[in-house]
Amino acid sequence: MSRTFVDIRGQRLSLTNLEKDLYPFSGFTKAGVLEYYRGIAPYILPHLKDRALTLKRYPEGVDKDFFFEKRCPSHRPEWVKTAAVPQNGGKPITFCLVNDLETLIWVANLASLELHVPLSRAGSPGTPDSMVFDLDPGEGANILHCSRVALLLRDLLSEMGLESYVKTSGQKGLHVFVPLNNKETTFEDTKTFTKAVAGAMQKHYPDLVTAKMAKQERIARVFINWSQNDASKTMICVYSLRAREKPFVSFPLAWKELEYLSSQGDPKRFHVFHTEVVRRVEEKGGLFQEVLVQEQKLPHL
């Protein structure tokens, strides 16, 4: 195993197998992955901060076996911050908290290409700071269908007095986030609310939307997965790489951009490649910053 030592903010890290081709279809090596996360760190770290990280590791690359790891590996350096989070009322699990650059690079060096985090912070696991509509296209539907649903959701939520934000999943879907950032709203509230919205969308757009998990219900429709609003669920973090053939990124879009992409009718144009991420963020700013701070309350609950 090849090994390279680096110092990051005074911490010594041993980086391994940097030449390993983690995306063999794209020639994107582990060194490239670490470089990507180093570059995006100022933008992704606020979204990872104090959240119980679930690692999704691809030690042999995206075309080989992967495994999810919730427990923060016991061989972690002593400076990696952790939090014990109770599981479903049961015994707590010790998770990694990616609060700084050195931890982000350490996690990426474990070939955890995808970074998954819950909608709540480790200190208040029952209180989500945002509500999410996970738009998942069924067979025969694609991201263009998702964008129609996302734009309808934006308008519907806006009528309800709620501002929302959208990002690509980095795969085939879109994620619509509604920032809450208040201490009162619980997962029970967000689940009730998103389920009612999904039900109303399905009722009014039965050919486009389903609120049901069943695979056959999803054919040619977009499944609004409201059940992601749960303390035990995680979402792919904004700016995280995805472990697909190509290194696409879960990336925030301005609503105007989504309208434009939707009008263009080409699903491929929704993909955001890792190489363009830092440039686009630096031009447009962190479009998802508001999700972390904007305070909103759910009406009619």
Binding site: E60, K64, D65, N88, G89, A214, P299
Partner: protein, 261 residues
Amino acid sequence: MAAQALWSGTISFSLVAIPVRLVKAIEPGRVSFHLLHSKDYSRLSRKMFCPGEGAMVPPDEIVRGYEILPNKYILMTDEELESVSPERSRTIEITEFIDMKDVDPIYYDHPYYLVPSKGGEKAYQLLVEVMRRTNKAGLAKFVLAEREYLVAIKSRDNTLELITLHYHDEILPDENSASKKGTIGAEEESRMKKSIEQMIEDFDPAKYADKRRKKLVDLLQTKVKENALVAAPVVEEEEGESPADLVAALEESMRKVKANQ
């Protein structure tokens, strides 16, 4: 598409390290059924029931107990169980090579195949070939699904086969061993030998098949043709109506959204 790997890592001994994947060698031919409610064909689910309380028990109120005396239990937490579980391992370290014929088949537990991972093909073929020629099998300790197994690795055609072995303590004594005494008459012995010799054949496992399974599959195919299918009613994934006030507000907002389009 390659078979799904149950595990991947390396086989190693002395200076050799070969990347491999563990895959299934057996696909049991069992036909399994689901239990349905005869009234509406819903799939039945199992719930934990507490006879003391006369009520269903939620998952977070369930703990493990080892029955040490009748109705006396020792509690065991997940952490305690984990503390005795072996660490996940990425290697199968062969510690000795043995003659496979020295292993009593009663020790055989479950067979798997080990197939080479990318970059390991050459070393793998060499090991298969050498093991075949020398008739040796590797003995190793191996952690799979939180259990540590003693395994034998031998060559089978052009592949490595991994067989998990029972531990010595798991083998029950032979209850019949007490009645071994008594002499065998020469005539009796020769008669039985003759009967056996008349029936000797080469072992051909392909000759045998699970007849019940075949009949069952035929019956299922007939029933599919008769279109005798039943389906459970579609149920909402989670019970509970949405609050009426919220539903009304959504209807009103939806009306406005549609009007603006």
